[in-house]
């Protein structure tokens, strides 16, 4: 029976090639856009290597300093973060490790008269324990290297190519922003969308040109806190909030700024905090925004699908009439239309998945987004498919069902509902 339906469905789809094409086009294209968009979001937020422990990591990513008529929104300084997290692993059993590091900034090198621009990040030793880089050569620098202010560097694969061709780099020297570093490790390239892990060159924090950063509240630092499990999050957040309250008394410029708005957030919470300039992180707002955008985007394709399906069914009134006249029950007819729509949607889904895979591979290859490593999100794929199925059934089967209840004679005469 089902096999019969399937055969019939494919026959019908093949007979009306133009309509099949439009439906498939709509479904696959909508899925394509959804999948590419979520692949980007995943690249930013999902726990992918080197942030494989991202699901149990909190961070202080940005900070706001507020005064009566001044506001600073930006990255925090080392001094502020130091007060917020130093010693937390000893104080709270839930904290496994902490790390302070800068954002990736442009750094210039000159090799044989050629200018090389790289992203440079200054990190401490713990950074390499919290994150999970895959080393092609050598290894990370350590907390001792940082404490002793040794001029050592970890570089990524592409930077190795730029400086040394394809030869091994460990032990050789690079000059960046007028400072000379000995390369101790080479890691695989990290996607630029990963705020915490991304850079091209990593060097110890203590190699900074001046020690002034140690006291700064405004700067370009971030902090990471690795928890034992997500269950420790509330406790850690509370502890950081308490410490930040205490830190307010030490703001270097008390006349301008009196309060600090910051906190230990997941990356998603942090983005919603900056996006909505909220004093507390409001992840639900960001969710609402993303969902709203997705719904807005899907309205048109849905209406289009419903529209097409309706006119397709109306056109087949006489077919329904004939089948009814020969004794088909409403159930049988509905079953047939269900199978037809499911087949159509699945075909569109497969097509969309293929297209998305191709587009993502193209994006990864092209280098439009440096070091992109975009991957398909199958959960979103199935959700999108389910939605397409819903609209397909709603618009294709419901009218068919109503029509199947018409008197065969009327249906045969081509009367529509």
């Amino acid at each position: 029976m089902l096999g019969n339906y399937l055969k019939m469905a494919l026959k019908v789809l093949a007979r009306r090639k133009f309509f099949t094409f439009i439906s498939l086009f709509g479904i696959s294209l909508t899925l394509l856009v959804l999948l590419v968009a979520t692949a980007m979001l995943d690249q930013i937020f999902a726990p992918q290597a080197p942030e494989s422990r991202g699901d149990r990591t909190l961070g202080i990513y940005t900070a706001s300093l507020r005064g009566e008529d001044s506001v600073y929104n930006g990255f925090a300084g080392y001094g502020l973060l130091d007060r917020a997290v130093r010693g937390l692993p000893q104080e709270l059993p839930g904290v496994e490790n902490i790390s302070l590091f800068t954002t990736a900034r442009a750094a210039i090198s000159y090799v044989g008269g050629q200018k090389i621009e790289s992203s440079l990040k200054r990190t401490d030793g713990a950074y390499w324990q919290i994150l999970d880089f895959s080393f092609l050569e050598g290894g990370p620098f350590t907390a001792e290297d940082d404490a002793a202010a040794r001029f050592v560097a970890v570089i990524n694969e592409t930077t190795r190519g730029r400086f040394f061709g394809d030869e091994p780099a460990v032990g050789r020297t690079i000059e960046v922003d007028g400072q000379r570093f000995r390369v101790v490790g080479v890691v695989r390239d990290v996607p630029i969308l990963r705020v915490v892990a991304y850079s091209e060159i990593w060097v110890p924090v203590s190699t900074a040109k001046s020690r002034a950063y140690l006291k700064e509240y405004q700067g370009n630092f971030m902090a990471l806190l690795l928890a034992h499990s997500r269950a420790d999050f509330p406790q850690i957040k509370a502890a950081v909030d308490r410490r930040l309250d205490l830190a307010e008394a030490h703001i270097p410029d008390r006349r301008m700024f009196q309060t600090i708005d910051a906190g230990a957030d997941t990356l998603f919470e942090a983005v919603s905090r900056t996006l909505f300039e909220a004093r507390e992180s409001r992840p639900e707002l960001l969710w609402a925004l993303l969902l709203g955008l997705a719904v807005l985007f899907m309205i048109l394709p849905s209406i289009n699908l419903v529209n097409l399906n309706l006119s397709r069914i109306l056109d087949r009134a006489s077919e329904i009439g004939v089948r009814k006249a020969f004794g088909a029950s409403s159930h049988t007819l509905v079953g047939q239309f269900v199978v037809e729509n499911v087949v159509l949607t699945l075909l569109g889904g497969a097509l969309g998945l293929g297209l998305a895979a191709a587009v993502l591979a193209g994006l990864n290859e092209s280098g439009v987004i440096p070091y992109a490593d975009l991957r398909l999100n199958f959960r979103v794929f199935f959700e999108g498919l389910a939605l397409a199925l819903f609209f397909g059934l709603f618009s294709g089967v419901y009218p068919a069902w109503k029509m199947s209840r018409l008197h065969p004679v009327q249906a045969l005469r081509g009367r529509t509902v």
Partner: protein, 401 residues
């Protein structure tokens, strides 16, 4: 004729309602993307007001804890930096400023002029700024070092600000900002007017702009956050290395970041155009999807109306008349959808949302182009089905029933 067509459309209201909804939403999408594109294009064709080529920005980080406190020593070091850079051979001119053009972030200030609130972007620059950025003063004069001795603070404004604050009157010598006992500020007087200065780059909207005079080496003026250096054309990038070394030698503790304005400009372009590009591509495919869908639905509808059309042909309607009827019906439906969309969209300027983007001219042309696009889409979609309808033979109609 129209009334008759309206009746025809109304008779098939259920099928038409969905088409109407589809046209309505498509109109909104086209309007959104089109208006944004028009806004940027309209901005891009206006003159920039300065010359960015061969200008390098040296961002100066004094590595001090706070941004607004500074010491006399830092002021002195900054002045020495400028003098040092001036002596280098590839440098034509150098100036100190609070902000560099094209960079992200801005400093705006609100002031009451003649009892009216006027907002403006501010940059504080030293006297050589006009020479480095190569622009002319159209009225009055630019700053000169001797201005440091004036009892009041001189400012130079751009034409946008002059127009908004004083209309057609001559702004030279006027006071910028009525005296306000609550926040005592030094008296600022306009000494010159420059052409529209588009600090945020070609793609940004018009903006009131005012230059304050930064006195280099003056203990009350903050050292510049950025030095703008005009280098001789063809200066190799390798000079950046030399420049950094010389700066570092004057101020060991500070750090410097050199970026040619061309580079900052490019990344500003990318930042603004990428969302539009992505939105445009998605909108294009949505449009294609809708176009194909509309074509399919119209085609299908016509197949159902074979009888009706055949009858019209049988009683003497010509092929062209049928053809016209179908297209007009579609255009009527489009008009309804566009009207509905316009009613929604017009709420934006009424409620003053996105006021800076939706200036009257952009809004008007955005509305017009979205409407034209919708009519075009509808006509193209109706063309083939209506041709088919014209071909219906009267006999076919009679064959039914």
């Amino acid at each position: 004729m129209i009334r008759h067509l309206l009746k025809l459309v109304w008779n098939r209201k259920r099928a038409n309602a969905l088409i109407l909804v589809e046209i309505f939403f498509t109109f909104l999408v086209v309007f959104a993307v089109g208006t944004l594109g028009l806004f940027l294009w309209d901005n891009a064709r206006r003159p920039l007001g300065f010359d960015w080529q061969d200008v390098w920005a040296v961002r100066v980080n004094m590595q001090a804890g706070s941004d607004d406190t500074f010491t006399a020593e830092q002021v002195e070091t900054a002045a020495r930096l400028v003098r040092e850079v001036e002596t280098l051979a590839p440098v034509e001119a150098v100036t100190g400023a609070m902000m560099e053009p094209f960079a992200f972030g801005q400093y705006t200030s609100g002031r009451t002029v003649n009892g009216r609130r006027v907002s403006m972007s501010v940059n504080e620059v030293t006297a050589s700024f006009a020479e480095v950025m190569r622009f002319d003063v159209v009225r009055g004069r630019w700053f000169q070092p001797a201005d440091a001795a004036l009892a009041w603070r001189p400012v130079v404004i751009d034409e946008d600000l002059a127009r908004e604050a004083w209309g057609e009157e001559d702004p030279i010598g006027r006071r910028l900002g009525d005296p306000d006992p609550k926040s005592p500020e030094p008296e600022r007087r306009v000494i010159g007017v420059v052409r529209d200065f588009r600090h945020h780059g070609e793609l940004s909207g018009p903006d009131n702009f005012v230059f304050y005079h930064k006195r280099l080496g003056h203990p009350q003026d903050r050292p510049p956050r950025v030095l703008l250096v005009r280098v001789r054309p063809g200066t190799p990038v390798a000079f950046e290395e030399e420049l950094t070394r010389r700066l570092q030698a004057v101020a060991h503790e500070w750090s410097f970041e050199i970026a040619p304005l061309a580079q900052t400009r490019e990344s500003a372009f990318r930042l603004r155009l990428t969302p539009l590009l992505v939105g445009g591509i998605v909108a294009f495919f949505l449009l294609l999807m809708v176009a194909l869908g509309l074509l399919g639905v119209l085609w299908q509808n016509l197949l159902q109306r074979t009888r009706e059309i055949g009858l019209r042909r049988a009683i003497g309607a010509s092929r062209a008349e049928v053809h016209r009827q179908i297209i007009l019906e579609q255009l009527l439906l489009t008009t309804l959808g566009v009207l509905l969309g316009t009613i929604v969209v017009i709420q934006l300027p009424v409620l003053d949302v996105f006021g800076s983007v939706l200036r009257p001219q952009v809004f008007g042309s955005g509305l017009l182009s979205a409407s034209v696009a919708m009519y075009l889409l509808a006509t193209v979609c109706a063309l083939y089905p209506s041709t088919l309808a014209g071909r219906v033979q009267p006999a076919e109609a009679l064959r039914y029933e």
